[in-house]
Structures are given as structure tokens and as C-alpha cells.
Amino acid sequence: MAPVPSIRNRDLTLAGLEAVFLAHRAALLRFLRARGAGDDAEDLLQELWFRVAAAPAGPIAEPVGYLVRAANNLMLDRHRGQMRAMRRDLDWAEAATAADHEMPNAERALVGREALGRAEAVLAALGSRVEAIFRRYRLDEVTIDQVAREFGVSRSTVEKDLQKAYRALLELRSGGDA
């Protein structure tokens, strides 16, 4: 069977996606607003489409979910950008914040390893199953259902373990930033 030239595949996928995008325009706008887009929602919706159109397109099983996820990622990137800008503004005022960027390599690696040590200690304290489940899910990008199958436990057990691990790790953040 001769493969269909992929440029055609891509066009087909894009045309299909565009139809879904237009049909769900209102829902996507609503999602962007709920995610905090405010007055920029319309602009962000347009940016979302540019992004989706530029991304390498393969077959997409759940086009609506794909678009909402892309919108969610867009908002996350926007938040990261804002945080970076804010940090830049703070830099001149707050030497402590600046130290985070200007630190010589060796020290930065040390800080990284200390943080790593803390995260690893927190995970280890939760017990081996919670740790293994967290690592598998969070670092290997598999689904919760797949993790449940692999560990021979229910989906809700996996969710509870993950919640425990996330919660404990995210506590580190408040400890470090405060």
C-alpha cells in the first residue's frame, strides 16, 4: 500500500481541525476567559489558531480536547511569560531575586541539587508505591489508567497516591518562596 504523501495528510488534518475550531469557537472563548484571558480572549483565540496551524499535525483522535488542551497550554505559556517579565522588573530592586539568575554555574548546580535532594526526600517519605506511581505518571507521561493497570490497583488509588505526592511536593514551593 503506497503511503499517502504526508503533505496531503497534513492539509486534511488542518482542514478538519479548522472546522472543529470554528464550530467550537464560543466554547474555546469561554474556556480562555475562565482561564483568566479577560479582555485579551479574542486575541488569544486567534493566537491559538496560529499555533495549532503551525504545529506538526498528525491524526488527532479527539480534536475538541486537542484544541482545549492547546488553549490551556497557551495560557500556561502566557503566565510563564508574565512571570519572567515580572522577575525582570524586580531584579534591579531585589538582589535576592537577581541572585537566582546571576549565580555562577557551580553554585546554581548546587542549589539545583539541594532542591533535588529535598524533592527526592519528600517523595521517599511517602512510601515506595506512592513514589513509584508518581514517577511513572509524572515523568513518563503515561495515563492514569495505564499506571493503574501496571500497578494492579484501581484508578482511584492511583489518583489518591498522586494527589498525596503532588500535595507534598508543592508544599516545598511555599517553604522555599516564603
Partner: protein, 301 residues
């Protein structure tokens, strides 16, 4: 965050951060409803997502270890003289042992058994020099060393200017022009015992990356899987995969610039050799194969 966040809202935010990471997550309506319930929820979700990413990055990839520059210690005359003596009679020179070079052709695997019970599995396209009963030098390619441990005489592998010393070990070494990695499947090694002195235990890999050394976690059980024709990757760039395919298949395979930096995660089981095996590997990689002279290029489909 200035606003006071309730414990309940934070628990919910943690749950959404966790759930939306699932590649098959589908409850976008539920997520939207939660976001709309309070304008603070979106900010909380953003904040926790960024923190979560930072933590996961730290866990997945150990921070680079800054290279310590090794300097000759300043010594008095007596110590210097003693050191010079050691240099004149290197410990690896043993009477009756002639250095021996072993090379495997591309696509050909070789196993070397040493008198002390140690074993070296060589992948295709590999060149190894046995410099002494407990000393080897990997000039290029890939080899898995399963070493009979002897506390008094540690086994040492040199490659380029790196030195690997075993502490009861099985480890895999890859030496290519742009890549040098040591992956430990059992026991522990010391990487450059006279310089950085990095201890690398089983389940970890050390990699030279420019001026830095990178230590990452790996699945110890999968080290040396290439012996069964199995190539396992997590986010490996295609130019690296191309190097492994060359060794495994006996073809010169390179990744075209358009795809060489593309990451691949998954398992490739090489069946047989040559062009057919390369084509089925390419299908898994999502690329096409183009022949150019006696080279094979992985290109974007």
C-alpha cells in the same frame, strides 16, 4: 500570591494540575466549571502548574555537575620523586601482556571473555584495545562491560580523556564523535577518579555534554538491551538514534537536519539487518528513509 487561598481550593487546584497532565484527560467541562467558580482558581492553577514543572524537571534530570578543574598539587621533593617513579612503571604494564586491538564491523556483535571472568559485549562498529588484564580502552562505538570485581585491582576503562573505574559493576559505554555516555546497570563506577570523582550507581547514566557532566536516571534492567536488538529511548534526539541504528544494522545512518533534533520515546526492536530493518525502524520513528550513495538519511515524511 497575595489573596488568602483556602486549603480546599488548593487541594482542588492540585487535583486539576494532576488530572490535566493525563494525556487522555477529557473532563474539560468540569475543569472549566471549576475555573469559572472563582477567578482566583485560574491563577492558583497557573502557579501550581509552574511549580510542578520545575519539580518534575529537577527529578527527571539531575542538575549538571559543574566540572572541577583538576590541578597538580604543589608538592615537596620527596613526594614528587615518588610520583615520578609510579609514572615510570605504570601499573598496567604487566609482563607477558601484549596490548590487543579488537574491532567489530558495523552490524556485527562480538563478545570478549577475559581470563578473570570479566566479559565485554561489543556492539557493531566498535573498536576496543585491551591494554592490560584489567585495563581497556574504548576508541569508538559501544560496549557493555560486566566486570569480575577485585578490590585490589579495580577494572578501568579509558575513553578519550575519561576514566571509568569499577566498584563491582556492569556498565555500558558509548563513544561517538559527539556523544560519550556511561550507563551503570549493576554496582557502581567512579567517573574520572582523579578529577571530578563522580560516583555513578546502578540505574544512573553520566554523559559528557559540552563542558558539563550530566547525571540522569535510567532503567537499570534495560542497560545493554541492544544485545537483543532492542533500542530504548526516552526523549532521545534522532541523531542519537541514527548512531545506534548504524551500529546495530551495519548501515551508515544519519538524521537529516530537519529531524535530527526531534525527540523520540519508545522501543525499537531491530529484526534482522540492512535496509528492511531500517525501514521498519523508520516507521516507528515517524520518518522516511532516503538513500544517498552508501549513506542512509532519516528525513521528515
Amino acid at each position: 500570591m497575595s489573596a488568602r487561598v483556602t486549603r480546599e481550593a488548593e487541594d482542588q487546584a492540585v487535583a486539576w494540575v494532576m488530572l490535566t497532565r493525563d494525556p487522555s484527560f477529557a473532563d474539560w467541562d468540569g475543569f472549566t466549571a471549576w475555573l469559572e467558580a472563582d477567578p482566583g482558581h485560574a491563577r492558583l492553577y497557573d502557579e501550581l502548574s509552574v511549580a510542578d514543572e520545575r519539580i518534575a524537571e529537577q527529578l527527571a534530570r539531575r542538575e549538571p555537575i559543574a566540572r572541577r578543574r583538576w590541578r597538580w598539587p604543589v608538592m615537596g621533593g620527596a613526594v614528587a620523586a615518588a610520583l615520578a617513579l609510579v609514572a615510570v612503571v605504570p601499573s598496567m604494564m604487566q609482563p607477558g601482556f601484549a596490548p590487543q586491538t579488537i574491532a567489530s564491523a558495523a552490524g556485527q556483535k562480538l563478545t570478549v571473555r577475559l581470563a578473570d571472568g570479566s566479559r565485554i559485549d561489543m556492539n557493531g562498529g566498535t573498536r576496543l584495545v585491551l591494554e592490560g588484564p584489567r585495563h581497556a580502552r574504548l576508541e569508538r562505538g559501544e560496549a557493555l562491560f560486566t566486570v569480575a570485581h577485585d578490590e585490589a585491582r579495580p577494572f578501568e576503562v579509558r575513553s578519550g580523556d575519561a576514566l571509568i573505574r569499577d566498584i563491582g559493576t556492569a556498565f555500558n559505554v558509548v563513544r561517538e564523535p559527539m556523544r560519550f555516555t556511561v550507563t551503570v546497570s549493576e554496582g557502581e563506577i567512579v567517573f574520572n577518579p582523579e578529577r571530578e570523582q563522580v560516583h555513578v550507581p546502578a540505574g544512573q547514566q553520566i554523559e559528557e555534554s559540552g563542558d558539563q557532566l550530566l547525571v540522569t536516571r535510567v532503567d537499570a534492567a534495560q542497560v545493554g538491551a541492544w544485545r537483543q536488538g532492542r533500542l530504548i529511548y526516552r526523549g532521545a534526539k534522532l541523531d542519537r538514534v541514527a548512531g545506534d541504528l548504524s551500529r546495530g544494522l551495519g548501515l551508515t545512518v544519519a538524521a537529516d537536519a530537519s529531524v535530527s533534533a526531534r525527540p523520540f520515546s519508545g522501543i525499537i526492536q531491530l529484526e534482522g539487518k540492512g535496509e528492511d530493518a531500517l525501514r521498519s525502524a523508520a516507521t516507528i520513528l515517524g520518518v522516511e528513509v532516503r538513500r544517498s550513495g552508501d549513506r542512509w538519511l532519516l528525513v521528515a515524511p
